[in-house]
Symmetry: C2
């Protein structure tokens, strides 16, 4: 079968499985999840063996250490995958829940029922644990899923997908509910992005070049974020200790995550007090600083920020710094250069906190907290399938609810419209 | 200015106005709405005069009576527009509302704040009252809007838009918040659909060919429905009186609306009892029936349905009829031929009602009620900007809430992530 037909066939089977899964009860879905966790544990030796083959091939092709690290599946990682699947079993089932049921003057009762989206396509890179995580979240939310992992992880992913399908079958659910694209042919991604008839939403997870390609090619709506150019704005009324603690953490707790601060904005009224000690902390941790003229005047040796810096997601120990005249200039900067991901203000002034919360148009807006909190687990969603910086449907960290939709239900007793 | 630059300029101005509107308080927005209603009333003579010019041009170009009817704006229509705008003023303001605020183990409080989408593009056909309605809904929900009405209504639309902008100005809000595309150049629509940087969502309202063109061309997400192939399924356990009343109303109360039934499905166990009297009602009202073999065996003179009939939205006094073996065949038929708009079951069997509600994947699913109820006003949304058959974001009739999004807000006291 050629790739186009292969993907069409997967789409058709996913659509059929989705209808079964949409009506599966919570107990069946949880039985499948528990069985998947058990299958992962008992298959641990063969999962690790498959992963060793992937790792050997990656090393031969010259993959760097960070790549090999993300690809590696050891006994502990398998156990964590199994526990992750069990944790999804413990989450509330969102499906079938009816809210806002109210009687209308006509006598009908109108409410909304939460239902699955249908078929989800997930395109990801080297991390094989996504295969188990994403399968579990889609299953719990009643969706079928087509998984397309990185070609370097294909043996690991296939071994994990076999455990998932075994778990589905043991609970009497269709194994087509979770299908892994087995071919490493890159054309499969393009075909998947054209399966409008069979796939309801695409969730891409990976580096910027992957996401950009998918945005350009997809004919299917997406839950995605391209960039995380996150800001911390230290207001004139900030508590200096909180400001330093938050700005330090937002940049240095992890450098490579999308919710890491990339640009620090600081009010000119407090800059002289806060910026020098903060810069000393950054410099002690090896963070390169690139500032505007006013920032450089306060911190000897600070490099110069170019216009391009303001829009750059470094994902590295580099930080751009700008001194602003106040909250308006800070919010203008964020509106112009930000990526609508996560932005924070540090202030003790409630009116300015309120303005920032209301007016900054980002998926997460924070007062006196580190941008690093923008995460499904930290937010209490129980899980995270991705983060969206779009405004439609889910916005910010996306958990089970983001994989569902609400339809209207109308309960009548023979009512007709007059 | 050429059309491309004209639309770019409108987009840029809309984006700037949207930032102002997003932070406008409820009182200002309501003041603008009340002023718009007053402006419409006092401008009634000139609105009607502008409309007369549109009508004269339409008649000259040979427009049919239905078209002229939709285009006509008389004194009563102007008063209804003004009342419609006042009614939007009386609706609750959804913006700024924070829900689900809860403390997390880290000490941060996490909630969701309802915010405007930003800039909305509305593309519609001949009805000039949409200009006022859509402006009012976008304004109340804090969004800027770019309106592109039918070229036949351009004089009427411009006169209405002037009232809207006067109302905005009198309340101190930017008149760029509501902009009407003044050119009748059709290329303007194509340009509008490419303004990804400035327009967040497109809402097309009109006939199928308009919607199909917009779906094919738009680079911006849409709230839309293409078809309304709605079904009523009369189950074996239906109350025959309710079944007849509902099936009659769903087809004949209005023929040209998207929530009108186009296909009747009926269980073979009850068909002999219900179909003949129902067919007599339809035939008495001049409804042409096109049935499968089993239906035709019960109703002498019924025409024959072809495969194409099952997927057709007639918008006319024509109904396709199929006798099925039960709820599974009915739901299979709906999944295969329906348009995910509105489908109803008539049954006194609670288990089958529940299955239908849960398993039929349409934007509205009903038990013992006419499909004609699928409407924002009937559902209590207070207004309706359109109907969506998509699964992402808003689904079914879309009111003010569908023009908004929710972002995460995080309230901390200096918390950092460990």
């Amino acid at each position: 079968m050629d790739v186009a037909h292969l993907m069409q066939d997967m789409g058709r089977r996913a659509r059929a499985a989705a209808r079964v899964l949409a009506r599966a009860d919570t107990a069946s879905k949880n039985r499948a999840l528990i069985a998947i966790a058990a299958a992962l544990r008992s298959a641990a030796p063969s999962l690790i063996e498959a992963n060793q083959a992937d790792l050997a091939a990656a090393r031969t092709s010259g993959a760097d250490a960070a790549f090999v690290d993300r690809l590696t599946l050891d006994a502990r990682a398998v156990e964590e995958m199994a526990q992750g699947v069990e944790q999804v079993a413990s989450l509330d089932d969102p499906i079938g829940h009816i809210t806002d049921l109210a009687q209308r003057p006509s006598g009908i009762r109108v409410g909304r029922m939460r239902v699955p989206l249908g078929v989800i396509g997930i395109i990801y890179e080297s991390r094989p644990d996504v295969t188990a995580d994403a399968s579990a979240l889609c299953l719990k939310s009643g969706n079928a899923v087509i998984l397309r992992g990185g070609s370097e992880a294909v043996r690991s992913n296939q071994a994990i997908a076999e455990c998932v399908q075994a778990g589905l079958r043991s609970a009497g659910l269709p194994s087509d509910a979770v299908q892994l694209v087995g071919t490493t042919d890159r054309a499969a991604v393009g075909e998947l992005l054209r399966l409008r008839e069979f796939v309801d939403i695409i969730i891409p997870r990976g580096g910027k070049s992957l996401i950009a390609r998918i945005i350009a090619e997809s004919q299917i709506p997406m839950i995605k974020h391209l960039d995380g150019v996150c800001h911390v704005y230290i207001d004139a009324a900030a508590d200096p200790d909180k400001a330093i603690r938050i700005a330090d953490n937002a940049k240095t707790q992890r450098y490579g995550t999308c919710n890491t601060m990339e640009t620090l904005l600081i009010d000119e009224a407090i800059a002289a007090r806060v910026l020098p000690p903060l810069a000393a902390i950054y410099q002690g941790k090896g963070v390169e600083l690139r500032g505007d003229q006013a920032a450089r005047a306060l911190v000897p040796g600070m490099g110069s920020a170019t216009e391009a810096d303001w829009g750059t997601e470094y994902l590295a120990p580099i930080l751009s710094v700008r001194v602003v005249t106040g909250i308006d200039e800070a919010m203008d900067h964020i509106a112009r250069h930000g990526s609508a991901h996560t932005d924070a203000i540090v202030t003790e002034d409630p009116a300015r906190a309120e303005r920032f919360l209301r007016e900054v148009d980002s998926s997460s807006v924070m007062v006196n907290a580190s941008t690093r909190f923008a995460d499904g687990f930290e937010y209490g969603l129980g899980a995270e399938i991705g983060i969206s910086t779009d405004k439609l449907h889910a916005r910010g960290p996306v958990g089970l609810e983001g994989l569902t939709s609400q339809k209207f239900v109308v309960l009548g007793d023979g009512q007709v419209r007059s």
